[in-house]
Amino acid sequence: MRVARLASAVLPPLVWGVAFVAAWEALVRGFDLKPYFLPAPSAIWSAFTDNVGLVRAAAFVSGGNALVGLLLGVALGVAASFALMRSNLLNELVSPLAIALNAIPIIVLVAVFQNMFTSTSEVPRRLMVMLIVFFIVLVNVAKGLRQVSPIHLELMRSYAATPRSVLVKTRIPNAVPYLFTAVKIAAPTAVITAFVSEYFGGRQNGLGYFIPSNFANSKNAVAWAYVIGACLLGLTFYLVSVLLENITSNRRGKAPGGATT
């Protein structure tokens, strides 16, 4: 039964993926497309296996930047959400700002950060990741802390609970699934932000540097090999965060409603 369910979940995308790659290969061979236009999957795969050490090293650099920024952003976002919960004024000031930031390509700030630090520093990239993660976590966790069931609040009042008890026994546990939902949204975003930040200059060591630079040198198959590395890194971040979210939501039987970026 479980095997059947797993198969029905995994098989369709797997079949689709294999068919897609096969069609790609056939297209390149059939129309004799030049490698500088579109390399065949077989060529990309051999470039990947030839350069797997280099790809891994670059993925570790980008992954490190994404992870450090993610952890810092989560820590700061959680801390700030408590301040937001306590102050209505702060909430009214920051919440529209956080939402407005979604509409603004704040990634360009990485150029500003690059200017602040030496060209060999990883700090600008991590700052950029941190900033983007910060707002995602802030908005969601503050929501979890504030949007407590009115019945829970009435019950706590009927128990003559102190504000501290309300926080510890009602608001914080209520916000936990919101935090994991925020992490699920923020984790892939952190990886993308790390790539794009690397593309903006600074040290030439991450996936975000090697992908465009190999394209620029017409080493398209190698560039694609780095793209495979980027996909794997993004997937890893996403899967770990989904796993974390599942642990909490399984226990509660549902995911929290209304999470936003």
């Binding site: 829970h152 019950l155 009042r157 009927s158 003559a160 936990v176």
Partner: protein
């Protein structure tokens, strides 16, 4: 000692503003210890507000409220009442036992006593086999029983219930009514019960308080003269039908009953 005394209680929300609502006006009501009293009336008659005033979840604009011999605020701080709502309102991150333990935690009980009492309360509502389940694994009726166990955990002399069976299907509802009477028998609690259902009020209560809206007032108090214990046969008893007729006629006399239609005959 009387369990609850309300003396010329009035409640106005948002006084002095455009959204001013005169929810209750000049309420006098006295509820004896061990009595089961239902509050019934169309939507907006202030019956839920009245219950929240007794619970000291809101403060009245005028009048005095005595609960278990002290002010309503003191009764709340002393944990001398328990409360249950239409939604069970269980904490979905706590298992069933720890939900029942919550009021005990806040009353400062130690772990061992808490656990013992929670087991006792879950046995009372016949859910002892479900102590380690999470709330979402239970049906609506079972969740409501957990909520009742939680409300009674500190053995409060007074139980306040705001349409606790309103979200349940008819079969579960009748079962829960019988269960509530059994629990009341076992604990001797005074119960104040808000409901929309005339048969429910008549079946459960010693007295049914009929209220009218805008502003909320008590129009009539109907004594229910059901003799002996109440069981499934009670629902076919002449006295039961007489009670239903009397409450219904009192409600019909209430201005706005037809236009608001907040009371059903279930």
């Amino acid at each position: 000692m009387t369990a609850v005394v309300l003396n010329s209680v009035s409640m106005t929300f948002n006084p002095g503003t455009a959204r001013e609502v005169n929810a209750l006006d000049g309420i006098d009501l006295s509820i004896a210890e061990g009595e089961f009293v239902s509050l019934i009336g169309p939507s907006g008659c202030g019956k839920s507000t009245l219950l929240r005033l007794v619970a000291n979840l809101v403060e009245p604009t005028a009048g005095t409220i005595i609960v278990n011999g002290t002010s309503a605020g003191q009764a709340r701080r002393d944990h001398t009442y328990g409360m249950a709502f239409q939604q069970a309102g269980l904490f979905d991150w706590r298992n069933v036992r720890r939900n029942v333990e919550l009021p005990l935690e806040l009353a400062g009980w130690d772990r061992g006593r808490r656990r013992e009492r929670a087991e006792e309360m879950l046995a009372l509502v016949k859910l002892d086999d479900f102590a380690d389940h999470m709330p979402w694994q239970l049906s609506g009726g079972m969740q409501q029983r957990v909520a009742i166990a939680r409300a009674l955990a500190t053995h409060p002399p007074l139980l306040l219930m705001d349409e606790p069976f309103g979200a349940l299907d008819e079969m579960t509802r009748e079962h829960m009514q019988a269960e509530l009477l059994r629990i009341r028998e076992a604990t001797g609690s005074t119960i104040v019960f808000v409901t929309h259902s005339i048969p429910e009020a008549v079946y459960l209560s010693d007295r049914v308080v009929v209220m009218s809206p805008r502003p909320g007032r008590i129009t009539r108090i109907v004594d229910i003269a059901l003799t002996g214990g109440r069981d499934d046969d009670t629902r076919e008893d002449q006295a039961f039908f007489a009670g239903i007729t009397e409450v219904r006629e009192s409600l019909r006399a209430v201005e706005g009953y037809h236009s608001h239609g907040g009371v059903d005959d279930r």
